[in-house]
């Protein structure tokens, strides 16, 4: 059992954030998107690429380098002394922050660039993009039955509906809310308003999910610059955003060994992150919640402690995910409406929460946001990682 995280809490700051062109971006490879995002993050931080001595990256389907972080460094023209490519599916985004922060705190690197990019929309055909998803399932026990990764999430949502009476309308409201958010986000892939009726009239994908319950397929990337809180101050960074809490939980690999289909490892990962941060769910001003599917969000608001188990359906339907509600979430539009290029998808949640905490969200701004949570997950809830971020005054 770990100590309560005082070793890491508040010791590392996000000093730069950048996103590439996002949505449908033909003619740009994942490495090009990664480089564009990285340049923007370094510009945002006001530091040169030569200051980067650590690189962490997620993998890419369209540029399947085993060592994406190493390939990226070569492409970008840097030679870091700390590097790794992480892969825990959708939860990778938060783990980049955790590993990067730990590396800085342990002295393995001073300035770590986190980067992720992919071209699932124009770099792969739609069928191959989906196939690349299905191939992440076990080849002996899952794949022979034609199980897309969407199906594992669908079975959890179906069971949640069965056990708690969660309705299709409640699921649909998640998509409607995030679409409304995306309408205010420049560059969001989907900005036309939708209604609950639209969601319920869209074609089935895998029950209980219809097309508009499912996240997008996109191109894009994001990058962040991390350094020690001490060095952020020495550099005179204007609004460093501090990593206050980090927690992860890996409960299973195969969906059939998930201990409960309706209570996930997010309960543990978030409890660890809250404990480290010294704040709880009610203290959060804004959140980024991994929204690969609408029902995923319903289950996560419960497991992250924003409402009680089984009450996620009514909670999301009552407007708690938007402005004036309990926890404005995915104010950029999320994976459902902003963009979902795979591994980098949740990096946009980080970008949005960091922007909110810096007060830079314009008409999307949650007034006075000081504490934010990002929860990322993947592989049918096999992987869960939660990060709590805060401004200077939350330290």
């Amino acid at each position: 059992m770990r100590e309560d995280g005082q070793i890491l809490r508040g010791k590392v700051a996000v000093i730069g954030a950048g996103i590439s062109e996002v949505g449908k971006v033909p003619g740009k490879s994942p490495l090009a998107l990664a480089a564009q995002a990285a340049s923007r993050a370094l510009d945002d931080a006001g530091i040169a690429k030569t200051a980067v001595d650590g690189v962490l990256a997620s993998t890419s389907f369209a540029s399947p380098f085993h060592r994406f972080s190493v390939a990226f460094s070569e492409y970008f023209g840097i030679q870091p002394t700390f590097s790794n490519t992480l892969q825990v599916s959708g939860a990778t985004a938060a783990t980049l922050f955790h590993v990067g922060a730990a590396a800085i705190q342990a002295g393995l690197a001073q300035t770590v660039l986190l980067v992720g990019a992919d071209s699932l929309l124009t770099g792969l055909t739609p069928d191959l993009a989906l196939r690349s998803m299905s191939e992440s399932r076990d080849q002996q026990y899952e794949m022979p039955f034609g199980i897309p990764v969407a199906n594992t999430f669908a079975m959890t949502a179906n069971r949640h509906m069965h056990e708690y009476g969660t309705t299709a309308e409640q699921l649909a409201q998640v998509a409607v809310t995030f679409r409304e958010h995306a309408r205010r986000t420049p560059g969001a892939q989907m900005r036309d308003p939708i209604t609950v009726e639209d969601v319920l009239a869209s074609p089935w994908v895998t029950t209980p999910y219809r097309k508009l319950d499912c996240s997008l397929i996109s191109d894009g990337g994001a990058a962040f610059v991390l350094t020690s809180a001490e060095r952020a101050r020495a550099l005179g960074i204007e609004q460093p955003i501090y990593l206050l809490g980090a927690g992860e939980c890996y409960t299973h690999e195969h969906i059939f060994l998930m201990p409960s289909l309706t209570t996930t490892g997010a309960t543990r990962s978030s409890a660890l992150a809250y404990a480290m941060a010294g704040y709880g769910p009610r203290d959060m001003d804004v959140a980024g919640i991994y929204d690969c599917f609408t029902g995923t969000v319903v289950m996560m608001v419960e497991d992250l402690g924003f409402c009680a188990k089984g009450e996620g359906g009514p909670f999301v339907a009552e407007g708690n995910l938007t402005y004036g509600g309990a926890i404005p979430s995915n104010t950029h539009g999320g994976l459902l409406s902003f963009a979902h290029p795979g591994m980098p998808g949740a990096l946009f949640h980080f970008h949005e929460v960091v922007s909110q905490l810096r007060g830079r969200c314009g008409e999307r701004q949650v007034p006075g946001a000081k504490l934010g949570l990002v929860h990322t997950l993947g592989a049918g809830f096999a992987t869960n990682a939660t990060t709590v971020l805060g401004t200077e005054e939350t330290l």
């Binding site: 191959l128 196939r131 080849q139 002996q140 034609g146 199980i147 179906n158 089935w204 895998t206 289909l261």
Partner: protein
Amino acid sequence: MNSLEQVMRKPLPVPDADTQAYWEGLRQGKLLLQHCLACGHVQFYQQAICRHCGSERLEHRAASGRGRVHSFSVVHRAPSPAFKGDTPYAVLLVELEEGPRMISSLIDGDPMKVTFDMPVVLVCEPVSEAISLPRFRPAEREQVK
């Protein structure tokens, strides 16, 4: 790597060192579960150690083949072209009578009529000389047909 031919082919399981007996069992019409002789734990899938106590004293025993649908999802948009012709099909999370759960898909029944806790029965479906897939049909045929 993604040639058209590969894309159109359904993925066929490749047994590994842990799972030879499992696939051989299915070929003979038996779904083998591992019973731990040290602690009594019954497990699916096949591996070299008991997930509960770590013992290597594991014995294969054929399951009854009876189970219930713990959850399911009917696939309308196939994960790859190879499955397009099968849609809509029901992927099942079956809870076996012996306790373990497994992924399978419905055979010989209406995918739109699958319900929670529906009783199902094993059907070993040969898909190649070496491989038979463990699939499940409704226990009461007339109920779903």
